[in-house]
Amino acid sequence: MTEYIIETKDLEFVYPDGTYALRKLTISIQKGKKIAIVGANGAGKTTLFLNLNGVYKPTGGKVYFEGKEMIYNKKDILALKRNIGIVFQDANAQLFSASVFQEVSFGPMNLGLPKEEVRKRVEDALAKTGIAHLKKKPIHFLSGGQKKRVSIADILAMDPKVIFLDEPTAFVDPKTSSELMAFFDVLNKEGKTIVLSTHDMDKVYPWADYVFVMKEGAVIAEGIPQDIFRDDEVLKRADLEKPWMIAAYEEIIKRKPYLSKEEVPKTKEALFQLMTK
Amino acid sequence: MKGKRYIFYTAAFTFFAVLISQKEVYAMHIMEGFLPPLWAAIWFALSIPVLFLGVRRIQKLTADHPNMKMILGLCGAFAFVLSSLKLPSVTGSCSHPTGVGLGAILFGPAVTSILGVIVLLFQAVLLAHGGISTLGANVFSMGIAGPFASYIIFRGLKKIGASKGVSVFLAAAFGDLITYIVTSVQLGLAFPTESGALAAVAKFLGIFAVTQIPLAISEGLLTVVIYNILTVY
């Protein structure tokens, strides 16, 4: 049976100044999967994350966490913050402490854990993100990629069940960005549900298990990437580019229609195989 | 005589040092070790009650608005960065805006004094500008006397219906001037001449007027520019 870790029903959120940010948004996020949420700037991805983790309180609709309806009382909000972590787009906006160690310890400290447990969690998170050697460095000495890793360690140290990554590859160079994508796979294999928002269709297509397409605060399409990214209608509506692998695949089957029975390729290798069939 | 030799060495060293030192005029931070211990302690003692008030005020503010802590943190960082910018002064030399007047107008003087003490501490240990033993004196002149003067002038002028531009200019410029006067008083009291402390104060006022009066005017002008743009947002 499929188990959903987060579900929303007709979720709405209106900012205090009256701006509608989320409109009747219904999604179900399957436990242990790699989920991508795609959509142009301002589609409401970040607002959605902040609603689901309890920083904002929805102004309408329902949110379920592990099947239980959230009423956003103190206990619920605490449970959401504890179990759902957000790694923000701009690491500079998230990091507040000068020392890497203290920065990462902030989350676990707020969970009220004993000091020894906090220490252990911080060391673990730093080791996992590959920055144990930076422990004593001040944050302003770090490169952009290293700051990103600290901001991920921040969240890992809280040991959440779900991790939202808001445009994790936006400010980093291509090499770091490939390393990060591989790291998210590792986290996923360890049992975390990973939800990633991004612009980069080429990155997300081979990575994601399932895709939601957002536009103006609503989900306009969802499905497996092989379906979503072949739907020209949806891509156009949401202002998205087609991943080059899909574009190439479509060209191939246009010229050799008999290949359309084959599976849609999800890796470069599969595509090149198909190309020469 | 022992003194003569010292004078020669110190004079030679000073001359050499002035030749190769950077031509930057720092604002009125009394340097480390300049004040005798007694006066250093007195200014600490006078500053602490105000700082205590400031801490209480911030605690209350942040308890009501948890986001206030971040706002104050960022504003403190802003004040530090502002003080490290070089401001073209009227006399052509470069100096540093203090942002004290702006802080007092926006947050009130007690809160500004707390930001002031942190910024002054950082200036001492990151920029070698000011000092630990003279922190009390510098906090009193820049973090307390200056902001209070700015605040009172700004409020007073607003009450009698002066224009925003004039009030902001005068508040910021006088905040600077009061800082400079208080610093001169601090130096005069610590190093009185034969004819008393008052003459000594006058002496220091005269010496620092050359750099500080143009600086106060520059700071006033800059604060007006900043304030005007801020009100547009």
Binding site: A93, A98, F106, N110 | S84, P88, K203
Partner: protein, 254 residues
């Protein structure tokens, strides 16, 4: 400007217990302040310079550059101390009259100026020892141990972190303005700098809101608690510090 901060994290005394360094620096500072003996002052300058250059490994050139920084204040200040204004003095080594008043340098003023000069320089070297060898993050730890109000330390921590973020933004705006001829005359410099400062303020304000949101997502409810790292006091260092300060006290008594 950042170089002092950078050395604090890479010098050879970085991992020494911050309290030991504060004790040495603070203790020597007090000794220098309270003593009028030039021997103590020269001794302190020599010891601190030795520690900074030979032990901590700070390049001599950088250290000397920093020693020159306070000179502008020192010269005007010491000049002011040396100068005497009086109506009735006959003790001037050098002086001239201005109306009823006589302005000049007396032996007493000169002695005091020399004392102030030496005392200030000796104290500055004590401060520099601390600044060059102790990372700011460690100093915050000391502030906490000294029972400074929590809110003060929390603010200091955030201010320290965001100084670098805002400094970077400020320099980006500055370069962008410079590329568009924003600093080609005094008047333009004024407008440009005013725009820079006010925009930086607005950006700082937005950053504060973003930070609040991000920290709330990690469970912030008003307290910025972080885990302190452990430091271990070295008995050997403590003994050396006490010994050094003892020697200076004896020196002062002579």
């Amino acid at each position: 400007m950042i170089s002092m901060d950078q050395y604090a994290y890479i010098n050879r005394l970085k991992s020494v217990h911050p309290m030991e360094k504060c004790l040495l620096s603070g203790g020597m500072l007090l000794i220098c302040l309270w003593n009028t003996s030039p021997l103590v002052h020269f001794g302190a300058i020599a010891l601190m310079t030795f520690l900074v250059i030979a032990v901590a490994g700070i390049p001599g050139k950088t250290y000397v550059q920093y020693l020159l920084l306070p000179l502008v204040f020192l010269i005007t200040g010491v000049g002011g101390v040396a100068l005497t204004i009086t109506k009735n003095s006959t003790l001037f080594l050098y002086g001239f009259a201005m109306g009823h008043w006589k302005i000049g340098i007396s032996q007493q003023g000169l002695d005091q100026a020399v004392l102030v000069f030496l005392r200030a320089y000796a104290s500055v070297t004590c401060l520099y020892f601390l600044a060059f060898t102790t990372p700011m993050t460690d100093m915050m730890w000391v502030l906490r141990k000294l029972r400074m109000p929590t809110v003060l330390v929390e603010l200091a921590m955030m201010i320290y972190r965001f100084i670098f973020v805002l400094m970077e933004t400020a320099s980006m705006i500055y370069i962008s303005q410079d590329c568009r001829l924003g600093y080609s005359s005094i008047k333009r410099s004024y407008t440009s700098l005013g725009q820079l400062a006010s925009n930086l303020f607005v950006k700082a304000f937005c950053r504060a809101q973003e930070l609040f949101t991000a920290l709330t997502a990690r469970g912030y409810t008003g307290r910025l608690d972080v885990l302190e790292e452990n430091y271990y006091l070295s008995m050997k260092n403590m003994a050396l510090i006490v010994l050094a300060q003892g020697i200076f006290m004896i020196l002062a008594l002579q």
